[in-house]
Structure formats: C-alpha cells, structure tokens
C-alpha cells in the first residue's frame, strides 16, 4: 500500500501546485509564463508518444502544430465562425497528414525518418507562405474582441491557463493509459529493437502509424490553443522548424519516453527562455537558438535519457545509502 500511496501523493501535490500557480503568481507576466509552459508541455507530451515511447524522432511535428493553428483562424476568417469549430477539422487533417506521411516514411528508420519529417514540414511551410488563401506570408488573424466564451478569446490569462491545464491533463491521462496497455508495450519494444519486436508478432508499421496519428492529433490541438491565445498565426510561428525543435528539446530534457518528462523539460526550458528574452530584449532573439543548441549538446553528451533518468539513477543509490546508514 505504501508503494502506491507515495506516487499518488506526488501526483496530488503536482496537481495542486499547477492549479494554485496562477492564483499565487497573479501578475499577467507570471501567468503568461505559466500558459507558455503548459503549451510547451502539451506539445512535447504529444510528441513524446511517437518520439519518446516509439523512438521515432520526428523533427517535423510543426506540420501538425501549424495545421491545428491555421484551421481555427481560417474558419473565422472565411466564415466568421468561432475558432473552436476549426479545432476538430485541424485534428482530422493532422491525422490524415500523419497517415499519408507515415505510410512511406515508416519504411525508413533512424535518421532517415527524422530527415523526411523535416523535409515535409519545410515544404508545407514554404507552400503555406506563398498560398494567398491562407494569408500567404502575412498569415491569419483571429477575433480581436471576443463575441463570447465560444471564441476562446479572453482578456485575462487566467481562463487560458485553466483551459490549457485541462488539455494537458487529457494528454497525460491518455499517455498513461497508452503506457500501461499493449499499445504502450509495443511502442517501447519497437524503440528498443524493431527486429526483435517483429519476431514477437508486433505489427511494427501499424503500431508506429497509430502512434504518429495520436501524436499528430494532440499536437494539432496544441497548435489550435496557441492560435486562439495569440489571435494570430503565420508560416513561421505555425510551421517553423523552431516549433518542432522546441518539442524535441522539451521532451528530451525532461526524459523522452517518460510520462512526466516533457512536463519537467517545460518547467526548466520555458522559464529559462523567458529569462533570456527578458534580459536581452529584442536584441537577444537569436539566443533561443543558442540555448537550444547548448541544451542539445549537454543532453547528448551527459544525459541522453533526460533528467528523469538521472533522477531514477541517483535516487535508488541515495535511498539504499540512507537505509545502510
């Protein structure tokens, strides 16, 4: 009983801290940091399903994020509908795109899959940037003033925070369910050795495709939330490579293939990113790239499993030393 109680207690404390954050840190700045943190955690958790658990490192997830971001604002621009109406369409389009891309690219393994995803995402970005129907390089705008709650446009950061938190909870609960079922076991087996997984009857391509589709759906929702909050989207903020890279780094920093890895990664990276942007202002915009590059080098060199793995390695040693004492 004690073993089960400890993780549950940690979970309750984590939930309480997340719920209380915007009430304790009530200034607009800190709430905005909180919303940005949640958005990064949602996107990275979505990426984690295919990149972390299945080990299929997509560096082109911005294609799903961008689709999810564009459809709500496109529906608003074209028909004056609430951006919410575009969210399910974004999900469907992202899942279709995931299947179309996954079918040929999952024949590729390792770096080849990553390179293929970058190429497709960049092609879409360039295409969207020249397509007048979706605003070309200028992009699209959402409602400046909310007509009602259904426009998902709020003056305060507080409603955004709780909407984003609810979505994060859905993503994490879904991932936890996936992790404990056959699907999750198959994903982890594929990550460890595709050949061995195949020999045990694991339908590898089908499983990877399902993971990519699920991941694309959640990434699309993250894109929609981003567009609703900022009220604006352009090719770079939707489909840019930095969007994809951020998902990968956030998940890898905390621990790819671990449920709370992306949450930890976002909790470290977003405040750090905000701090560099605040200290150096517009002149420090390139610092984000330097920060990302530095983190990639550090993770790859010292802790490829991320900080959670480091914790799992250190904690049992400390505990056994404490018991021995």
């Amino acid at each position: 009983m004690k073993n089960l109680a400890v993780p549950h207690l940690r979970l309750v404390l984590l939930a309480a801290a997340l719920l209380a954050y915007p009430l304790v840190f009530s200034s607009a700045f800190y709430r905005d940091v909180g919303v940005t943190f949640l958005l990064a955690a949602i996107s990275a958790s979505a990426w984690n399903i295919v990149g972390g658990y299945a080990g299929q490192v997509s560096v082109g997830h911005s294609m799903f994020f961008g689709l999810g971001a564009y459809t709500p604002l496109l529906f608003y621009t074209l028909f004056g509908w609430s951006p919410i109406a575009g969210i399910p369409v974004g999900i469907v389009l992202s899942v279709v795109l995931a299947v179309v891309i996954g079918m040929p690219t999952f024949r590729l393994t390792g770096h080849y899959f990553s390179m293929a995803t970058i190429a497709v995402a960049e092609l879409i970005r360039i295409f969207v940037g020249t397509w007048d129907f979706v605003g070309a390089a200028i992009g699209l705008q959402g409602p400046a003033v909310a007509r009602g709650w259904w426009d998902l446009t709020f003056r305060s950061e507080l409603p955004y925070y709780y909407v984003f938190l609810a979505v994060l909870a859905v993503v994490l609960v879904t991932t936890a369910i996936v992790e404990s079922r056959r699907f999750g076991f198959y994903l982890r087996a594929i990550k460890a050795s595709e050949r061995a997984a195949r020999s045990l009857g694991v339908p590898v391509r089908q499983t990877k495709l399902k993971a990519l589709a699920l991941s694309a759906a959640f990434t699309s929702v993250a894109g929609s939330l981003y567009a609703c909050k900022t009220g604006f989207i352009d090719p770079d903020s939707g489909f840019g490579i930095l969007v994809s890279v951020q998902m990968v780094i956030v998940a890898a920093l905390g621990g790819a293939g671990m449920l709370f890895g992306p949450l930890l990664g976002a909790a470290i990276l977003i405040p750090l990113q905000t701090a560099t942007n605040t200290w150096f202002g517009g002149g420090g915009s390139g610092l984000t790239y330097i920060l990302y590059g530095g983190i990639i080098v550090l993770i790859a060199r010292f802790e490829p499993g991320g900080l959670f793995e480091l914790w799992h390695r250190i904690w049992p040693q400390r505990r056994s030393r404490a018991h021995a004492a």
């Binding site: 404990s180 079922r181 056959r182 076991f185 198959y186 982890r188 087996a189 990550k191 460890a192 050795s193 050949r195 061995a196 997984a197 195949r198 020999s199 045990l200 009857g201 694991v202 339908p203 590898v204 293939g257």
Partner: protein, 244 residues
C-alpha cells in the same frame, strides 16, 4: 511435416549464401543445424524465420506457404525465434519483456501478465529485474522466455547457448529440454557440439551454402565431408588400402 523448406536458395548479388537447401521437420522433433562460420546456416535460419526472403524455393509451415510472409506473420503462425545477440528491451523489466511476447495471444493486460509470469517462472528469471541489468546468461534465458510467451509450435534457437560457462550451459540445456517437453518443436543452430550431441536426434551440416550431410549426430561427426569442412582436406581419414 510441421515445417518444410524446399530447395531454398539465397543470393546476395553474385554470392550464393544458401544453395538449394532442403529441410523437413516433424512435430516434436529437435533438429540441429551446424557448420563452420560462413557456411550459410544463419542465412538459411533467417529464411525460415521470415527475416530474409529466399531468392528461390518454398517454405511451408503446417501446410501454409510462409515463404514471403513477414516476421510478424511467422510469429502469428506459430514460428518463434531467438537471436545470436539477445535483443533485450533494456528499459523494461524481465516481466515486461516477456509480456510483449505474451500480448500476441493474450490481448488483455491481466491475461498477458499471468501468462508471462508462468513463463518467467519456467525459465527461472526474476520478474522485476530490469532488462538492462541482466548478464549474458540472463539475456539468453530472457530471449527464450520472450519467444515462448508467443506460444510457438516451432522454436528456432539461433546460438542461444553460446557464451555460457559450463554450469550455465547445463542449466540452459535443461531449460531447452523442459521447453521441448511442453510439446514445442525445436530447430537449433549451434556451434557447441555438446549441445547438439545432447539435445538433437537429427543434424543438418552446412558448408559453403550447401547441405553436405544429414543424419544422427553420431553419424554426421564421423562423416568424411563434415570432417573435411571443419578441419580441412589434410584431416580426411586415409582411404583403406586395397589389397591386390
């Protein structure tokens, strides 16, 4: 016959790794495949397991043609295999590793876990031990346990007993015997002659892509062609002198 390989050949470019190999395996048999390094036995083995597509020939399992079937389809049909270098799922525990195999026939978590526990018990492993902490003997055992969890009718063991100490080897031989007693047919590729002599009733000897001998282990070790393949022409027994 449970498994029949008919005139199987595999070419890599102009190199013929396996040339017209035939094999028939009856239900409940244990058959050994031996041969010097590079003889083509592993390539033939991979053809049987669905990992390599034969260039020509047919492979029939339980009356169904599985020549072009994927490794997944082989597993579903009831052909299980292990690997020379055990591909352990490092981030999983022993039980979780075995559950991956168990899920093939038991889609529900509790059923898969119960089945995996029984298999882990049979192989004498500790269910909660992390995969990454296992040594070579443990990894070999886990490889066998994982494939057993798929409930195969035919088990293909690819040098699963190599690299073990004499004591570990005896334990592993006992394990293979226990598996065989449960009704599983076994084809075993092995370099260790002790394993072949102890476990098998029939042996196929490969050399340079061809099957050069087959028969009981006692007969093949005395076969001239086998001795020559392993030791070279100089070690052939001199032919008996003819008396005028």
């Amino acid at each position: 016959m449970l498994l029949e390989a008919i005139n199987v050949s595999k070419a890599f470019g102009s190199f013929l790794a396996v040339s017209g190999a035939d094999l028939s395996v009856a239900e409940h048999e244990i058959i050994g495949l031996i041969g010097p390094n590079g003889a083509g036995k592993s390539t033939f083995f991979n053809c049987l397991a669905g990992d390599t597509l034969p260039t020509t020939g047919r492979i029939v399992f339980d009356g169904n043609d599985v020549t072009r079937a994927s490794p997944e389809a082989h597993a579903r049909a009831g052909i299980g295999r292990t690997f020379q270098v055990p591909a352990t799922f490092e981030d999983m525990t022993v039980l979780e590793n075995v559950m991956v195999g168990a899920y093939l026939r038991h889609p529900h978590r509790n059923d898969a876990r119960d089945h995996a526990r029984r298999i882990v018990e049979l192989t004498g492993l500790r269910p909660d031990q992390p995969g990454r902490s296992l040594g070579t003997p443990g990894r070999k055992r886990l490889g066998i346990a994982r494939v057993l969890a798929t409930e195969p009718r035919l088990l293909l063991l690819d040098e699963s007993l190599a690299g073990l100490t004499p004591t570990e080897l005896q334990e592993a031989i006992a394990l293979v015997r226990r598996v065989h007693e449960t009704g599983v047919t076994i084809v075993i590729v092995e370099h260790i002659m002790e394993v072949i002599m102890t476990l098998t009733k029939r042996v196929l000897v490969f050399n340079q892509g061809h099957v050069i001998a087959s028969g009981t282990p006692e007969a093949v070790v005395k076969d001239e062609a086998v001795i020559e393949a392993y030791l070279g022409r100089a070690h052939r027994r001199p032919a008996p002198e003819r008396t005028p």
